[in-house]
Amino acid sequence: MSFDVRLRINDKVASIELKGELDASTAGRFHDVIDEAAQLGAIELVIRAENLTYLASAGLRSLVVARQKMGDEVRIAVVGAAEPVARTIRLAGFDHSIDLVDA
């Protein structure tokens, strides 16, 4: 599945939908979208990950980037990540910086 990332903003809640593989070659596009959400002043960031099939280390780093760009006061939720993806996030300890929630 080719990578795709889409941003929607609704009432200051930014929703980013990820599709395909988030790795070194695609992380840059994800970062651009995070930048955009931060500039729009989102107070909550929801990353829809139901269709994310693979998360490489660069993808994990992207969550750190999101945390840092959005600021501590912004809630970040990764929603519907498949178990292998969610497990990697948990084991790296990133579930302490973001909310990992079921779809």
């Binding site: 750190v64 790296a92 300890g93 990133f94 302490h96």
Partner: protein
Amino acid sequence: MSIQDLSAAARVDEFPTHRIGDYRVRAGRPYPYGAHPVPGGVSFSVYSDRATSMSLVLFEKGAPEPTAELVFPPEFRTGSVYAMTVFGLDLENLEYGFRADGPFDPAAGDRFDRRKVLSDPYARLIAGRDVWGVEPDWDDVYPYRSQVVNDDFDWGDDTQLGIPSEDLVIYETHVRGFTRHPSSKTEAPGTYAGLREKIPYLKELGVNAVELLPIFEFDELDNPRTDPATGERLHNYWGYNTVSFFAPKAGYAATGRFGMQADEFKSLVKELHKAGIEVILDVVFNHTAEGNEQGPTISFRGLDNATYYMLTPQGEYYNFSGTGNTVNCNHPVVRDFVLSCLRYWVSEYHIDGFRFDLASILDRAPDGSPLPNPPLLEQLAYDPILRHTKLIAEAWDAAGLYQVGNFPNYGRWSEWNGQYRDTVRKFIKGEPGLVGELATRLAGSPDLYQGRTATASVNFITAHDGFTLADLVSYNDKHNEANGEHNNDGANDNHSWNCGEEGPSASAHIRELRLRQMKNLLALLLTSQGIPMLLSGDEVGRTQLGNNNTYCQDNELSWFDWGLVGADDGLLDFTRALIAFRHAHPVLRGVEHPHGTDRAGGGLPDVSWHGVRAWEPDWSEHSRVLGMLRSGPDDVVYLAVNAHWEDHDLELPELPDDQVWHLFADTGAPGAPAPIGAEPPLECPGRYRLGAHSVVVLVGRPVPETK
């Protein structure tokens, strides 16, 4: 142009000045060493005094052959440092190393080998051993690959905890061994993440520092031996054979295959800190994984052998570590390396302290002679970044430099107190003539640490190296056959006693005696002045079946068996209670050694010694009974130990101010220790019958008024 516009503009040093093949480069920053992301690229810097040329070798992740080799132009060399910024690199897919050319002349100290791609000594991530125990491609031209790391972890408000040394209770454990056993029921057994899951257990136990066996990258597959019975490969399980000093071990990370070991380990540190638990790393600067002349060339040997290792006048390796080579710690370049490394772990990983393996090597001069004022130890003691970091020395080395009690300390260093260990073991075993020395050890070993604080002494009875507590009371002799060294390895002077039968016993009497002996040892440890250190698993009676040197045993012999946590022998509860008791009684944790005078003005000296009769200690050869009374402001604790095989009726010292003795714990009596603060008063005030091989702990408090 506004200030904001200026800062947004490209910097001059973002532009390449040279082209090497397909790569655009410019002279890098000589300092800091290693590989550091800079705008548009990565600055690589490496030291070699005697190389004749140096190349930066670039690989795509996992590729068998290099993508490129960039020779450092002469103008990119400053002094003995080669530095180059390479632009346009993909950090996620980059592995790198160096190729140094120069003379191969061992007699002159040089062992350059341009066939080798060398790891960066300052590499902050290493790839190549990403998953524990997985066989690599042994033909790989570059087995330990340096990688660039992003230091962007979300630490939040975390910082070092700064727990006063006198309040510490250290728990020595092994990242893999703590949760690798199937009974751990963790999501990722044997990893940093697995250990993180067990933090509630540590918190409930009451320890406030974990001391981790080495977590710097090492190769668990560098042990050539096999189990003589099964033929299975034996691992380098403990990890005292460092490959890379700035890199956390990838094989200890569940996410190591994603290159996320740094984040996973940082997450562990952060969560331990949240639970009020400090992190102390066991660090090994005395030798490296490159070994002797027959060892592999990984990094230092090929970059600048004569700088990094102590060499004889003939160019052979001195071996003060017992492992083939000895790091040249007091060479100014190596001192800088050690200092930078420790600063890095403190600043980037928020590490609270270090325990230095065979630390006496740190005070040897480049020719191996002990220095009267070793500059490295002094630098570490006064370094601004390490200023509040705990520094603990294993104050001896493998070549006989034994410095327990006189390790150069600059008012900062603590020491593993080997004399404490031996005295307590021998006394509890029942050896005669030790009452006087036991008293000295319980009081923080003022004979060894005169002029220093009591926290100079890290008291321990067991550690990873030697018998576990359960084995100390179950075996007279070591049983190391599984190590494949014909039982010749490991210490012979264990001061252990099997209580009448070697190994597991069906005798209820022997099992009960062993349990009591374990409780006795723990009771002494946790009421002694100084910093107590527990070996992981001793609180649940973990056995290694008599193996006192499990450095190579990556199996149930070494792993923490979580099935023991539910055992009904009360040992775990006893340990928890003792730790809580220590935390509750400041009189046990004084910074100063006791004087034997009434400094608090409460009517009792800060320490006093007693025998079967109060105020009459029996220091004679045959005596095996000692009472210790500790008194401070609003806090009085009495401990008596009977290592004799017969019961003794003790006369108890009288307490001032209508206080009476209350019973916290008696290892010879059934039942758990009393809840802290709710200890019952003695039924028979002034006297106590202490059973054979037992310890009693009493607290002094006024009798509660009856309604």
